[in-house]
């Protein structure tokens, strides 16, 4: 059965670390950086478990700053 796989790219300099994508993600792919910050001092989001992504784009739909690019591919 073909499996839908996804991948997310986060523009870490634009991210403000609001946590909304982390809450919206149904597969717990995203998390906020616990220590590292970007140039503006925010704990930006990153993919903690990238292999779990299904490409549903829920994170990008709720992102207030448009930092997230979502790719989707079907694995044969």
């Amino acid at each position: 059965m073909p499996k839908v796989r996804g991948a997310v790219d986060i523009n870490k300099e634009r991210c403000k670390g609001c946590d909304l994508c982390v809450v919206a993600c149904p597969c717990d792919v995203l998390s906020l950086q616990p220590k590292e910050v970007n140039d503006r001092g925010y704990h930006f989001a990153f993919t903690v478990e990238p292999d779990k992504c299904i490409g549903c784009a829920a994170c990008a739909t709720v992102c207030p700053d448009g930092c997230i690019t979502v790719y989707r591919a079907v694995e044969k």
Partner: protein, 255 residues
């Protein structure tokens, strides 16, 4: 399939809209304004309106909206966006004109302009961000502040005997003959964002077809003003704002 292969061979299902430019938004982390800006940029791009639309920015948190979406904007005096939009649309009848206002701008100082523009049935779209507080000036009480809600000017909660009742201004708009579409939406979950996007697209179509004024109220969060995290304020909004400001269409004459 590795993550790199998915990025190279897969389709892009979501990205930053073309019309949202690279300026970092000044909004607080998690502010609903950012989401509404993003969906506006997406809709304008999808409807190919980018050369044919005029936005009127308010005074309030969204005062710098013209820095973020790459379309024509006018900055109006406080509360006067519907009056400016009236002129912009009457002088450019082939353009789609929308105002983007907060609750301080539309429901407090600009009530007269907004009500009369809607009552004249001007073919404009009013996008109204209702977060129940004056966000830009430091979290003071707005007309839409809920009963018992703590703000910096009502530190013991809003009292109706002293401060009056929360104003449901969209219900007033729905009573007017000039409005064709009045709806209340929210942008706190992916499903709500998609519904709000459809509502704004419908409002722009109403403007193109010259059916009258469309009002989109977006019940939003102000996590800095409410003194919560973004996720907490979304939950607080669901529990407290939605019972007073129920979601859905208040008026839709376009079937």
């Amino acid at each position: 399939m590795t993550i790199e292969e998915i990025k190279q061979n897969g389709t892009v299902v979501a990205c930053k809209p073309r019309l949202l430019n690279d300026n970092n938004m000044h909004y607080c982390p998690g502010c609903s304004h950012g989401v509404v800006h993003r969906i506006l940029a997406e809709i304008i791009d999808e409807m190919h309106l980018d050369d044919n639309i005029i936005g009127v920015a308010p005074v309030g948190c969204a005062v710098f909206a013209y820095n973020y979406i790459d379309i024509d904007w006018i900055e109006a005096a406080h509360g006067r966006a519907p009056a400016v939009a009236t002129a912009a649309h009457r002088l450019n009848p082939d353009r789609v004109v929308f105002t983007y206002q907060g609750d301080g701008d539309l429901a407090a100082i600009g009530t007269a302009e907004a009500i009369h523009a809607a009552n004249r049935g001007e073919n404009i779209t009013i996008i109204f961000i209702n977060n129940g507080i004056y966000g830009m000036t430091g979290g003071q009480m707005a007309p839409t502040t809920l009963e018992g809600m703590k703000t910096s000017t009502t530190p013991y909660g809003r009292r109706v005997d002293l401060n009056g009742y929360p104003l449901k201004i969209s219900d007033l708009f729905a009573q007017l003959d000039g409005t064709c579409y009045v709806t209340r939406q929210s942008v706190h979950t992916p499903a709500a964002v998609r519904k709000a996007k459809k509502a704004i697209a419908q409002a722009f179509r109403n403007s193109i077809e010259k059916r009258g004024t469309s009002v989109i109220e977006i019940v939003s969060t102000c996590n800095s003003g409410w003194k919560m995290s973004a996720a907490q304020s979304n939950k607080w909004m669901e529990e407290n704002m939605f019972p007073h400001y129920p979601m859905g269409d208040l008026k839709n004459t376009v079937k």
